[in-house]
């Protein structure tokens, strides 16, 4: 079973990298851009047949290592 995990910075955490990427895109003429936030993406394949169990294991991985919950949010989806 395969899952994707999107990790994004929390709303109130500044994202200087995203800001620079946004500015660069604007400088390149893509001036309709309103907002841009940079994040991280993981794909994890797990040896588990039950989707709920698999999801809770992935959630555990996120909370224990992949995500810093003080500054980041995450979203798990099956792929």
């Amino acid at each position: 079973m395969k899952f994707s995990i999107k990790v994004t910075l929390k709303k109130d955490v500044l994202d200087p990298q995203g800001k620079v990427v946004k500015q660069t895109l604007q400088n390149m003429g893509m001036d309709t851009i309103k907002n841009l936030r940079q994040g991280k993406y993981f794909e994890i394949e797990i040896d588990e047949n039950n989707e709920d169990k698999a999801k809770s294991k992935i959630e555990d991985m996120c909370k224990k290592l992949l995500v810093n919950l003080i500054i980041e949010d995450f979203k798990i989806s099956r792929i």
Binding site: V13, L14, P16, Q17, V20, L65, N68, I70, I71
Partner: protein, 225 residues
């Protein structure tokens, strides 16, 4: 006083801190991250560097290493723990210190001498300094921008858990003198019991007048006091 310096793959300030500790009469042992036993220590230092190449997040992988379980146990039993630079990042990733260190506001690695003001001397790490003393220390980091929740920030200020703040040569704490964008110019923080100190500047680089200056010496002699 017995000290232990934890060494990870990618640590690069471990020798400097060992040299500083030995010069100042600590009996020091280097401890490899895979070890599961910590020698009896009065002080544990988590040194600076780029543990595990800063993969995932600075300090995230090191925080899950074998020896860190022992460091966490010792810290919770009251052992003094000092995290410098990457060591500070590792301590926040373990949860021993609250908050996180984000990328510097200018997105650049900063390696230069800066000034910090000693805000709190009523603790085991700073008792040899004078209150409001200005120190010239060196910083070398890409992620030193301290961030925490507004509730915790208030708690840090109210409980006087911020020993060092970035300032100018005269001790003025202004945003212009904040090299990395850290909240409230924070350069270092304590846990509630003040037995754990995390700081971005490197006191171990300032222990010899011939090489730099002596401004870091008192941090170590305070512990011996």
């Amino acid at each position: 006083m017995n000290s232990s310096v934890i060494v990870f793959p990618g640590s690069n300030c471990d020798r400097d801190i060992a040299l500083a500790l030995e010069k100042l009469q600590f009996k020091n042992t280097m401890v490899w991250h895979k070890d599961t036993n910590l020698p009896k220590s009065d002080l544990i230092v988590v040194p600076g560097g780029f543990s595990y190449g800063d993969y995932l997040r600075s300090g995230a992988i090191a925080a899950k290493s074998n020896i860190l379980n022992e460091v966490i146990k010792a810290a919770n039993e009251g052992c003094f723990v000092l995290g410098i630079c990457n060591g500070f990042q590792i301590l926040t990733e373990t949860g021993l210190l609250k908050g996180a260190l984000l990328k510097n506001k200018n997105l650049k690695f900063i390696g230069k001498d800066i000034f910090i003001k000693v805000i709190n001397v009523d603790n085991k790490f700073c008792n040899k300094y004078k209150k409001d003393q200005v120190l010239k220390l060196n910083i070398a980091h890409n992620e030193g921008n301290y961030f925490t929740s507004s509730d915790h920030l208030k708690e840090l200020e109210d409980k006087n858990l911020i020993p060092f703040k970035y300032c100018d040569e005269k001790g003025n704490i202004k945003y212009e003198n904040n090299p990395n964008g850290s909240l409230n110019n924070i350069a270092g923080i304590f846990n509630d019991k003040k037995n754990i100190l995390g700081m971005m500047p490197h006191p171990e680089r300032m222990i010899d007048q011939m090489v730099s200056n002596n401004d870091g010496v008192n941090l170590f002699t305070s512990l011996l006091n």
